[in-house]
Symmetry: C2
Subunit: 243 residues, 2 copies
Amino acid sequence: LTQFPIHRLLEFIDLTDAERQIMDDLYGAPFELERGRVLRRVGDEVQEVYLLLDGWVISAVGTSAGGRQIVKVHLPGDMLGSPSMVLKKAAETLTAITTATVARVSLKKFGDLFVEAPRLAAAMFMSVQQERVLLMDRITSVGRTRAAQRVSALLIHIYDRLRVLQPDQASRFLLPLTQEQMGDALGLTTVHINRTFRELIAGGLVQRYGQDIELFDVPRLRRMASLPEREWQRYPEWLPKRA
Amino acid sequence: LTQFPIHRLLEFIDLTDAERQIMDDLYGAPFELERGRVLRRVGDEVQEVYLLLDGWVISAVGTSAGGRQIVKVHLPGDMLGSPSMVLKKAAETLTAITTATVARVSLKKFGDLFVEAPRLAAAMFMSVQQERVLLMDRITSVGRTRAAQRVSALLIHIYDRLRVLQPDQASRFLLPLTQEQMGDALGLTTVHINRTFRELIAGGLVQRYGQDIELFDVPRLRRMASLPEREWQRYPEWLPKRA
DNA sequence: CGCTGTGTTGACAGGTCTCAATATAAGTGG
DNA sequence: CCACTTATATTGAGACCTGTCAACACAGCG
């Protein structure tokens, strides 16, 4: 890959040629992970972060009771593992849930961005704030809504993100999350996820075909999810000007 | 104030004199907010962010059902409202819950940091990642633990943060949150917060005196909260070097 | 063909919410 | 300073949501 791949930074800035070059140099050679493989485990030393080029990766923190909370379902273009940059030991276990392609980013190179490419650094900052807003919305969903709404919220959230990656995204798509994983993301048990899903199916809102899912009534699902609509601020004025 | 005040950036870097000067210039003249006053409301245009110099401020997102989720309890030294920097309309309502002193930061000046003070920008980046980790831990608490544990987690979290501000912090302190607000933070109703509190009191773990609270058995509370211990990475190697 | 992971279902227990009423504290205007 | 209003805390009873435990079905895979 000579051209650096999709990256969620692009939601916030457009790159100059020089910046594009810097991004290309940021990432190491892509490598592949099999489904189920762990990229980094809770407690590991933090030596690097990653860019997800292809596939799905989940990020989970362990609970002391032996359970786990999935804090993020990563799609291509996501930076992986960056919350742990501020910690001595990694907070999150990163697990591929499909075959995934990943590239490393050394922390050193990442730090250099702040000197060499201020606008890229600012975009990184924005990208983290964006994740923070998404977490705020998810706490609201988990803390304040019932199972059916939480499941809808997850489905709609993922559907919307897939549409960003692929504007002509069909309402039927691969959802490689097991019900156990959805439960771990939403704070529900497998059993209850299952019942909730059948309820949604019975209500004609969705259907499943193996790992595929189809959303029959996106507007109604969206209403049920009651997620706030977030309009991201692209190219804000306060960003440093292009060199 | 010629000297800029405490700031959580200092958890991650030490400032050069020049950087300290830049920080001093970053903030406008401090002003006071009465208890209950709103600094910014959901949906407002985002023109600035704020530094909390004194007092307590809560940050809440509204739910479509008319409820609200408190996403952060801010203490002195916190930056307020920065998640909304990436949005066209503010995501959060900022409300003073004690008399509070606040200073404005214009977005323009904030953006200039990325060019003029890369290390400060990097520290801001880290500070946001830190908030993200805290939100990850809170989702885990809300999604995966019972009421008693959630309340313990809130108390321990606040206690720990007060101790950072004041290392000799006593185990008795002012907690200016109503039970309704705690409920909104933890995803519980007022009624249940109340019952849970009486349970903790009956168990000899805490006691309340008006708005004061006393933690009798911090280690046991901490165990009950089952929060992960986060060791923050101070002065990481990958930070840009001091000029 | 047997394993193992995943999905499904039922019965029951337990946690939390809802509704409603009351008590107490805090704030306000006279 | 008192009377009144409002905010906050407290308590009980019952309904509802979700968890727990356990069994079974089904699929993919070696």
